[in-house]
């Protein structure tokens, strides 16, 4: 019985957030805490030939100084994600070499941040500049300067994955569309920057961290190894997190705080400022993709060949992520029978890459959707019609793509048709024609996408040749307290997605309560929250794993409540139901037993328990999504597990005098299966779509040839404001997943994936008379002007 799941309930967490009573990382104050600042390299690539921090230590108010040499002596290297042929020691501070402008080389802990920054200015570093490497294709070449000479290359991974008879399909094709696409560097830039507080207990030799890190499972593993302290003596706590979208993690910063805290004997807090965030935390990979699409004359797409070069910057901790995840959406919603994917993961002397909203999927979708629209143009077909001819059909679900992704359910054609209807496609085409007649440049763009959710870490075996982590799982806890109240916790720290409300809805349904009765712990605390290495906030995994964990724990508690009540009432368990905070015999009016009374039995009056029943009313449960499996012998993989889908229709107008693009309308029809809370779901669609619009028109991290970031502040790295985007119009279909406990699918990345392609197609359509092909982003007014002037 679901009274609460599926309802658009306003959120429980909003009361405190609206009143300014949230508790974000920088709001946490530990007694005696010091504040850290980091000295960062001004050069993109250089040897460190001298570093003298002696004077910094003498600045009044400074309590500790840390250099790369200190870090080397006091910690172990951070283990790179991809094993390399030679060990590449990666410390939390640069030791003898810097490899991007902004790389930390030293850190200071002082009584306040201003003093710490004053002290940084007393540190003298002598650099011997080396040539920068800024372009990924240049970095591939054998004559390129190398970030790690011992490695002999800047390529961390190169492979060709072939699925199906690609050669045969190309031979049979009536034509091949060949295009090259580029994606710029951009990032989701949550409004709250990343930070951490580290506290060292010298007596226990134990550390406690407060941090807005969204991957606590991963981070605890790295901390334990680098600090040489077992996880049992580490504690990691997340407070309220001000947005994450993949960007909120940098274990090296936690290590810096930990080592400073140990030296100073006081807690040390570090919060990156916005310039550090934009220049040095993480960017989504920029890259270049060559796409060849083999097709028949009727528009059927037979095969896809992709060569993808991902620019990882100076990233040893999570490279190949952007490449690998593309296997999940490489054929998008289409029945393409053969796929070849050649991937390069290449280092350059720029900000490290990292997870971002959608990770590599926006670029993959951009390339495929652009190619489909260009194919439609070539064949004289309507872009919607071409897609409809190629979609995987609803009755083919579940459908396995050549690389091994299993699309669980969905009706892609119906999604597109609904979007066209909501958009009034025919009407807008008529208005476009009328507009053209009076000189207006109106354009309509369509893009559709699958939206994968959950990540099966076994996919890394494709790269490493061995399985270390695998599967997709999460852990949760539900507890009825001795006073009958209910508490729940999940190993996935919320970063704005409303877990405190949705988890409460789920638990309330299971236990016959209202969501107001269920207290969901804010965030993650490794001492009390159940967690796995796989725990964290990533890849849209809430509905894929977290829901199952919560349900499992709630049901275990429910069953125990029923067993206790059955024993006390001397009835069969099957005759009982939970409703309105009590357990009663079904259909029989009467008080039953409240949760409070049952809790008294479980925790206090334990002689009243059924024979063999242990005291307590708490359950921990970890849920593994059953769809994950190891990499196949044929190298197929379920890299992501559950698939939502969406169709975007975009209407733009271009000012032909200035090239300025205005988005007049943006319609999204999406299908994320069962919507656990439609209000929250719709908010996700709005927000993720605007991320995509920002990438399409405004956002770009640009570097000069010497590796200096030119768009280094919010004045130059442009985020969309309320005046830059329209009301996003949203409609939905609902095809539940057969493979998640409540039928819900992922929704967090959503619009970020197809929105850039929709805008690009709309701009191209507006400029149809000028024979323009949009192959890269962002679409700036100047670029449009050049197209108009050509």
């Amino acid at each position: 019985m679901t009274r609460w799941v599926g309802r658009p309930l306003p959120r429980k967490e909003d009361g405190r957030l609206l009143a300014g009573r949230g508790r974000y990382l920088d709001d946490v104050t530990r007694p005696g805490q010091l504040h850290a600042a980091m000295l960062r390299s001004p050069h993109a690539h250089a040897r460190i030939v001298g570093l003298d921090a002696g004077e910094a230590a003498t600045v009044p108010g400074v309590h500790a100084v840390l250099t790369g040499a200190d870090a080397m002596a006091a910690s172990r290297p951070i283990r790179p994600l991809i094993p390399t042929p030679v060990p590449l020691d990666d410390w939390c501070l640069a030791v003898d070499r810097v490899r991007y402008a902004g790389e930390p080389v030293a850190a200071v802990a002082a009584i306040d941040r201003a003093t710490a920054e004053d002290a940084l200015e007393r540190i003298r570093v002598t650099y011997e500049p080396l040539p920068a490497v800024v372009d990924p294709e240049a970095a591939l070449r054998s004559d390129s300067p190398l970030l790690y000479p011992a490695l002999g290359t800047n390529v961390l991974w190169h492979d060709v994955l072939t699925y199906g008879d690609v050669t045969g399909a190309f031979a049979r094709a009536d034509g091949v569309l060949h295009e090259r696409f580029e994606i710029q560097r951009y990032a989701s830039t949550p409004l709250e920057t990343f930070g951490a507080i580290a506290e060292h207990d010298a007596g226990l030799d134990a550390y406690t961290f407060w941090t807005n890190d969204q991957r606590p499972g991963l981070t605890l593993a790295i901390l334990a190894e680098s600090l040489a302290v077992p996880q049992s003596r580490l504690r990691l706590i997340t407070p309220d997190i001000g947005g994450a979208f993949g960007n909120k993690r940098r274990p090296a910063y936690l290590l810096v705080c930990a080592l400073l805290a140990r030296r100073a004997g006081r807690p040390v807090k570090y919060v990156e400022d916005r310039l550090e965030n934009l220049g040095a935390l993480m960017h989504a990979c920029n890259g270049v993709m060559d796409v060849e699409l083999a097709y028949r004359g009727d528009g059927t797409v037979l095969a896809l060949r992709v060569r993808d070069v991902a620019d990882e910057g100076r990233n040893l901790i999570s490279p190949t992520q952007h490449n690998l995840i593309k296997l999940g959406n490489i054929v998008n919603g289409y029945r393409i029978g053969a796929v070849s994917y050649e991937a390069y993961s290449v280092l350059t002397t720029k900000c490290p890459s990292g997870a971002n909203r959608g990770i590599g999927k926006p670029f993959m979708c951009f390339a495929v959707e652009r190619a489909m629209t260009l194919l439609a143009r070539r064949l004289g077909l309507d872009p919607a019609e071409l897609r409809l001819r190629n979609y995987v059909r609803r009755d083919e679900m579940p459908y396995t793509t050549p690389p091994g992704a299993q699309y669980d359910s969905g009706d892609y054609a119906a999604t597109l048709r609904r979007a066209l209807e909501r958009f009034d496609y025919d009407g807008e085409r008529r208005r476009q024609a009328d507009g053209r007649a009076s000189g207006r440049l109106l354009g309509i763009g369509i893009a559709t996408s699958v939206e994968p959710a959950g990540t099966n870490l076994a996919s890394y075996e494709l790269i490493t040749g061995r399985r270390a982590a695998s599967g997709s799982a999460e852990a949760a806890m539900v507890r009825v307290e001795p006073d009958g109240g209910v508490r729940a916790a999940v190993g996935d720290p919320a970063c704005g997605q409303g877990y405190e409300t949705v988890v409460a809805q789920i638990v309330a349904d299971e236990l016959g309560l209202t969501p107001g009765d269920v207290h969901v712990e804010r965030g993650f605390d490794s001492a009390t929250t159940p967690w796995l290495y796989l725990s964290g906030n990533y890849s849209n995994k809430f509905s894929v794993t977290d829901v199952g964990a919560v349900l499992g724990a709630a049901r275990a508690v429910r069953d125990k409540l029923v067993r206790i009540a059955a024993h006390r009432l001397e009835v069969a368990a099957d005759d009982l139901e939970l409703a309105d905070g009590a357990v009663r015999v079904r259909g029989v009016p009467g008080p039953g037993f409240t949760l409070r009374e049952l809790a008294r039995t479980a925790y206090a009056d334990v002689l009243g328990l059924p024979p063999g029943e242990a005291p307590g009313l708490e359950a921990r449960h970890a849920h593994q999504n059953p769809l994950a499996r190891p990499v196949g012998a044929d190298r197929t993989v379920r890299s992501q597990l559950v698939f939502s889908n969406a169709a975007h229709c975009c209407l733009v107008e271009i000012d032909r005098r200035t090239g300025v693009v205005r988005i007049l309308r943006h319609v999204v029809v999406h299908d994320c299966g069962r919507e656990l809370n439609p209000l929250i779901v719709e908010g996700m669609v709005h927000g993720s779509t605007v991320h995509g619009l920002g990438a399409a028109l405004l956002e770009e991290f640009r570097y000069d040839a010497s590796g200096q970031l030119l768009t280094a502040t919010f004045m130059d790295y442009l985020k969309p404001t309320a005046l830059d985007v329209p009301d996003i119009e949203v409609d939905r279909l609902e095809h539940p997943s057969p493979f998640t406990p409540l039928g819900a699918k992922g929704v967090g990345e959503g619009g970020a994936i197809p929105a850039p392609a929709a805008v690009a197609s709309a701009v191209e359509d507006a400029l149809a008379a000028f024979d323009v092909t949009v192959r890269s982003l962002p679409i700036t007014p100047e670029r449009v002007w050049r197209w108009l002037s050509a």
Partner: protein, 285 residues
């Protein structure tokens, strides 16, 4: 991002302010341009002289002979709603609406915008089109400087380290038509390029045309070739095109991360056309 240390003086009178200024000090008025630079440690003055408490520097007065006297400390928000400005210098109000966002406009000052002299700023350009002068106070008294002489280059003015800009004066612009147009990446951002135009009519003819481009040079620049294409000609809609054809001649726009010089020049032509067209329409009204 915390500033380097500095001393702070809160001046209660103009004389106090002037006494505190020297070669290693900066004036704190609105702070909307200054404080970010302090936070990024791009500027490291030894002393900040806060003039926000100096009385009498934020009024607006219509001059009997026409035109305005505007106190340098007037906040953009106040200038935007001031009826005397709306009546006598609507071009200035129109330009101010493009400055930043409300919270910035609540603190930012007209004098501060001029003294900061960002080449892409709206207000110095609008004032230049209005033939404004500024009044500068120093220890030895006040001097009046034509704005065209006061704006020297990018982020550089004729303001000495121990001087305070106290007043802006604009001559009579009754009957003049005005136009203002800019292109920015987002509303409220600094312009990629923009044009402010003011046209007076002498009977049916255009007289004393002022066409000023910003974001198109080291400082707001009078497009004199465009002005020459206007002066003495009949006020007609065809004027806009002929001004636009000459607009880029006096520009030397920068190449930067947001736009190339070529695009900026193009914008200046397009925006000149629009601003002049709007100004012509208002003059002949």
């Amino acid at each position: 991002m915390k500033p380097a240390p500095f001393d702070y003086v809160r001046a209660r009178t103009l004389d106090e302010a002037l006494a505190a200024l020297d070669g290693d000090s900066k004036i704190l008025a609105g702070g909307q341009s200054l404080v970010p630079m302090l936070n990024m440690r791009l500027l490291r003055p030894a002393r900040l002289v806060d003039i926000n408490a100096v009385a009498g520097l934020d009024g607006v007065r219509g001059r009997p002979e026409g035109g305005l006297e505007i106190g340098a400390l007037i906040r953009h928000t106040d200038l935007l709603v001031n009826p005397v400005v709306a009546e006598r210098a609507p071009l200035l109000a129109a330009a101010t609406a493009h400055v930043g966002h409300r919270a910035i406009r609540n603190r930012g000052t007209l004098g501060g915008s001029i003294a900061h002299a960002d080449p892409a700023a709206e207000l110095p350009a609008a004032l230049l089109a209005l033939d404004a002068s500024v009044v500068v106070a120093g220890r030895s008294g006040q001097r009046r400087v034509a704005l065209d002489d006061f704006l020297v280059g990018a982020l550089t003015t004729a303001l000495a380290a121990d001087e305070v800009l106290v007043r802006i004066e604009t001559p009579d612009a009754r009957g003049a038509g005005w136009g203002f147009a800019e292109v920015a990446r987002r509303p409220g951002d600094f312009a990629i390029a923009g044009v402010a135009a003011l046209l007076r009519g002498e009977g049916r003819r255009c007289d004393q045309a002022r066409v000023v481009a910003f974001g198109a040079h080291e400082r707001p620049v009078r497009l004199r070739a465009a002005e020459r294409a206007l002066d003495g000609h009949d006020l007609s809609t065809a004027l806009a095109a002929s001004a636009a054809a000459q607009a880029a001649a006096d520009c030397r726009p920068p190449d930067d991360v947001h736009a190339t010089a070529a695009y900026r020049s193009h914008l200046v032509r397009v925006l000149t056309e629009q601003a002049v067209r709007d100004a012509v329409a208002l003059v002949t009204r």
